[in-house]
Subunit: 192 residues, 2 copies
DNA sequence: ATGATGTTGAACATGGTGTTCGCTACTGAA
DNA sequence: TTCAGTAGCGAACACCATGTTCAACATCAT
């Protein structure tokens, strides 16, 4: 009940701060942004900031988590090599919807940190998937961990390129490219 | 003549500082390293540090340039799709020889900055190369800029994986994998 | 109205940065 | 060997960002 309400002021303050940080990240490198600048831009008191967040990084990650919330892999199994494991289309769409945040992350040079986790996660899932796909007793031409890391890395690379080029193509096209690039290599490496 | 001499003390001090920074980067994140820690470890006076370098970043980049000096693409043309453009084997070898520095860069989370430049450079060269390779009037399935960025990105991804896994395989094997992964996709995208 | 909770901003302690300067120690050349 | 020139030293300093504390004020539900 009381937690339910959550006092609109709380949410308002957090939104102001997150918005100010994103604003600033569009303008300058993340490391060069000071807490003072954030609270000035947000019109929020200094102590209020520290009542909500431990430091600048905390604010950043909270904002990011909020934006990623509500995103969960759907796993539409259409039979191709990788669709369930790396839900590329879903993710491209999601990034497009939150382009403001992701652009800021890119400019602020924090995107690497964020995507690193994603790459690890997808790489592991993909490796398990490939393990099941490989015929018994057969050795792939490229070791599975490398192969999995390659696939996840390609996805991240495409995502970065897309963000750095004003999302020139549609999410559908990007997803298509991802598969066009990764599928031949995977098939060749697995030996069929 | 006078520049030739260069007082051994100068070089010694610089080596001490670079070494201390690398030492520290092996232990902790780059941003958490202070100038004080560097000069303590190096046994060098504070003012001496600032006489040589403008700041921490300056020291880092100088050290990196020094290590990359003496490396230049050989371009051994053996007829496969990419050997001249991205001299992967040469680079894997070079990284292995300077593994100390590259490991430190990786742990210090600065590697992204350094490789970003490399990826841009290779991507552009590769795009030009592919442009010449494509039959007149034919459209590739994946746009050339994306394709080039993909190839350069794959190389960087492999390099990072290699560094993060104790250089498990030989430079020759890594080079081989790079080609096994990239070649099928390139061929498929170019339509042959 | 009242208590609970959120906000404010000044003041403060702390710690890193980069500069200055008088002194010492070493170097290479004659 | 001598000596002028150069490099290194480190204490002291001004500056600035961080994160904490606190007393006063604002807002809301009941």
């Amino acid at each position: 009940m009381n937690e339910q309400r959550e006092d609109r002021r709380l949410r308002r303050t957090r939104n102001l701060l997150t918005g100010a940080l994103i604003d600033l990240m569009v303008e300058k490198r993340y490391d060069s942004i000071t807490v003072q600048q954030i609270i000035d831009r947000a019109g929020v008191g200094r102590s209020t900031f520290y009542a909500h967040y431990r430091d600048k990084d905390d604010l950043l990650l909270s904002g990011f988590e909020a934006a990623v919330d509500g995103f969960d892999a759907h796993g539409d199994d259409d039979g191709t090599v990788d669709s369930q494991i790396i839900p590329a289309l879903e993710f491209f769409k999601h990034v497009q919807e939150n382009r403001h945040l992701f652009n800021a992350l890119t400019r602020g040079r924090v995107i690497d940190l964020v995507f690193e986790k994603g790459q690890d996660y997808w790489s592991k899932r993909f490796e398990n998937y490939l393990k099941g796909l490989l015929p018994q007793g057969r050795e792939p031409e490229v070791p599975l961990p490398v192969l999995a890391n390659y696939a996840a890395g390609t996805f991240i690379t495409l995502l970065k390129w897309w963000l750095n080029n004003d999302m020139l193509y549609s999410p559908q096209r990007m997803d298509e490219m991802f598969r066009q690039l990764v599928t031949p290599s995977i098939k060749a490496a697995l030996g069929n």
